[in-house]
């Protein structure tokens, strides 16, 4: 484990989906970080990283929305993002999005400070939990961005593996996409529907009592599908799960 000195302060970028649809997940992430003695700053003017527009080809729109976030992180603190795909957008795509514009240098500087939540908890804070929960079998869905852009899927696994009473199981085709893909799930509902059906079935068939994911889009996709089918099996955000297991009031 890297034993970096934890920073005293971090910014928290909550992401638009968490803001409106799953605020508790954001709050739980903040609680976990603060419990480790780090002050969390939440810039009130934040909204969205611009990813929905960017992946839809609406580059100018994405740039305008992303541009509105650039000024929100004046101190040189890390910026923690509780979603793999948003973190990927900010870290890897903002430099491209602003290339050749007056904001390029600033975008690069901000991008350099983006850290995905699980990565931060594990590798910066070296989180050492005491698992207070009952024995549980758990499946993990990792967002594709976290896996392929951020390479942080191993962090989620490592965090869960630090919980003594949780048995992590691998589900069939764990690396496969759940079919969310932002507007993809709305634009191609037939294909996306087949993908999420397979993902939901694989998670259920894994023998796990529930699943977790560190990406709000994937979570809403899979849970929304399970709920539509009247299923009681469901998933929650990694932060919520970790907090619950370690005595936090989630």
């Amino acid at each position: 484990m890297s034993q970096k000195r934890p920073p005293a302060d971090v910014y928290f970028f909550g992401t638009c989906l968490i803001d409106v649809f799953q605020p508790q997940a954001g709050l739980d992430a903040v609680t976990l970080i603060e419990r480790e003695g780090v002050r969390v700053h939440y810039p009130d003017a934040q909204s969205c990283c611009g990813q929905p527009a960017y992946t839809s080809g609406e580059v100018a729109a994405a740039r305008r929305v992303a541009r509105a976030q650039l000024d929100l992180f004046p101190e040189a603190w890390p910026i923690v993002v509780p979603s793999g795909s948003c973190a990927g957008m900010m870290k890897h795509h903002w430099p491209t999005l602003f290339a050749g514009t007056p904001d390029e240098a600033r975008a690069k500087e901000v991008a350099g400070r983006i850290v995905e939540f699980a990565d931060f908890l594990l590798n910066t804070l070296d989180w050492q939990p005491t698992d207070l929960g009952q024995p549980l079998t758990l499946a993990v869905h990792t967002s594709c961005s976290a896996r392929r852009e951020m390479n942080t899927h191993v962090n989620g696994w490592a965090l869960i593996d630090r919980l003594a009473n949780v048995k992590r199981v691998v589900h069939e085709r764990e690396a496969e996409c759940c079919g969310f893909g932002g507007v993809f799930s709305v634009r191609h509902p037939d294909i996306a529907g087949a993908m999420v059906a397979d993902k939901a079935a694989a998670l259920k068939d894994s023998g796990a009592a529930q699943f977790v994911t560190a990406d709000c889009g994937c979570m809403m996709n899979i849970n929304g599908k399970l709920a539509k089918d009247g299923d009681t099996f469901a998933g929650e955000h990694l932060a919520t799960f970790l907090l619950k297991r370690t005595g936090g009031a989630a």
Binding site: P23, A45, A68, E176, G181, S185, R187, A227
Partner: protein
């Protein structure tokens, strides 16, 4: 072949095609099984992640260098091939390419062409063209032969008949090949195909093939195959016509070594194919076989459009291994035909718009969740998701906007209502005051959440805002903690 039975799926009907494919449980099971098999085989060929990373880097560098020198290398290739006795032809369009091939066969008074696998000839619909002019073109790759008998098109660039079960093929052979009993035994079926096709090599006036790599340094055409039909087509008939895209040229003979290794291991998970056939000219005086004439047709068909833009040029790095489709969660579920294009899957989504125009392929760049599996396995590191996003950008760009290298069909995906929605979204999400108000209103009015939300509620319960936004919860928390 009977033209009436030819199944053609225009890519404009992508969504309907996809829906039909998804509803076909046999088809889905076929593709799922085949893709799982191919993914497993590929993974077994690359046990060493470091070796794979280094080899991919090398492959990418070779392809990028080749493209950076493309016009010079094409001229060198032409000069070298000419010196070797091969005649080089150039075609900007599929029609020109077909006319060249037809003209060459007609000049010999030929009627029967036997074909090795060539995706470029699928691009030009060469068989159709020749048949409409009284010639016969027989596909000799087993998969292509099966697909041709069925009056269909390939559903995968490496395994053309991957959508067919052995029962389908048993039926096809017993119906179409005279004197053939129904059998589902794969060995027996292959022997039936072998016998039917061997007579074709003997009688054919011309052999037509594709090219995997064209080496400028030595004037060599390389063909990669397992079956031996490629060697037959390029060796037995008196004339060999190879047809390929202008991007297939590589500079040095030694460049082919890593590319060949990447190709076979990525495509079918083989360390090597049965044959690697390197052709550097027609029969020389004293030699007793090989074609007396060898021709190469170099086809553009939209490739120069991709080339004109340095980002989109990466599309042309492709060595046609098909790994992107094998690993694509969309392709796996809908199969190759739904795309309605010669090249399906991720590579098809990024190359077809250059060949057919965005106006004919507008759904293709959007048919991806951008999961990145394709880019991750691409042996020459084409950033496919990046290409998809760029094509989406061009597709929704104002058709009248002047850009340095306009793509054919620029703005084909513009939808006024969607544009308006993005304008509203931008207004809300780029102004903190409006955004907070929006978040407050959305959470307070959560009881009014519509029951039908575009495509979302087809598969999901409606998205319902939480009672309070994270903004509000954080403000409350700050009050409590005093920070």
């Amino acid at each position: 072949m009977n033209e009436a039975t030819l199944t053609y799926y225009p890519s404009r009907d992508f969504k309907a095609n996809a829906r039909a494919a998804l509803a076909d449980s046999n088809l889905r099971a076929s593709f799922r099984g085949a893709m799982d098999f191919l993914m497993g085989k590929r993974a077994a060929q690359f046990p060493d992640a470091h070796e794979l990373a280094e080899l991919r880097k090398l492959g990418e560098a070779i392809r990028q260098k080749s493209l950076a020198k493309l016009p010079e290398l094409l001229e060198q290739l032409e000069a070298k091939l000419t010196e070797n006795g091969v005649t080089v032809h150039w075609a900007e369009t599929t029609e020109e390419a077909n006319a060249i091939v037809h003209g060459l066969i007609a000049a010999k008074g030929g009627k029967l062409a036997v074909k090795g696998k060539s995706m470029v000839s699928e691009e030009t619909e060469l068989n159709h063209y020749l048949e409409a002019r009284g010639m016969t073109a027989i596909e000799s790759d087993m998969g292509e032969y099966i697909v041709q008998l069925a009056g269909e098109k390939p559903s995968h660039i490496i395994m053309p008949a991957i959508h067919k079960t052995r029962a389908d093929i048993a039926r096809l052979f017993s119906e179409h090949i005279p004197g053939t009993p129904y059998t589902e035994d794969v060995d027996a079926l292959i022997q039936i195909g072998r016998q039917a096709l061997r007579q074709m090599y003997v009688s054919a006036d011309v052999g037509i093939s594709g090219v995997n790599f064209a080496i400028a340094e030595t004037g060599t055409l390389c063909l990669v195959e397992n079956e031996g039909n490629g060697r037959m087509c390029t060796t037995v008939p008196d004339m060999h016509i190879a047809i390929t895209g202008i991007e297939k040229v590589i500079e040095k003979l030694s460049d082919v070594v890593p590319l060949y290794s990447l190709l076979t291991r990525s495509a079918t998970g083989q360390p090597v194919t049965t044959y690697f056939n390197m052709i550097s000219g027609p029969r020389r005086p004293g030699e007793k076989d090989g074609p007396r004439e060898v021709h190469l047709v170099l086809l553009d068909n939209g490739r120069s459009q991709a080339y004109s833009d340095e980002q989109l040029r990466k599309t042309l790095q492709c060595i046609r291994c098909g790994a992107c489709m094998n690993h694509c969660p969309v392709y796996t579920r809908i199969g190759g035909h739904a795309y309605g294009t010669v090249y399906p899957g991720p590579i098809g989504e990024i190359i077809s718009p250059h060949m057919l125009g965005l106006e004919n392929t507008v759904d293709l760049p959007t048919a991806s969740s951008l999961c990145g599996a394709c880019g991750e396995v691409c042996p020459v590191k084409i950033p496919i998701p990046e290409m998809l996003m760029r094509l989406r950008e061009e597709s929704v760009r104002d058709p009248h906007e002047k850009v340095a290298h306009p793509l054919r069909g620029q703005g084909a995906g513009v939808d006024k209502e969607v544009k308006l929605a993005w304008r509203l979204w931008t207004g809300l999400y780029s102004k903190p005051g409006y955004y907070r108000l929006f978040g407050w209103a959305a959470t307070r009015l959560r009881g009014l959440t519509p029951r039908h939300q575009l495509g979302w509620t087809q598969n999901h319960v409606p998205m319902k805002p939480a009672p309070k936004t994270l903004h509000e919860l954080m403000r409350e928390r700050r009050k409590e903690t005093g920070r």
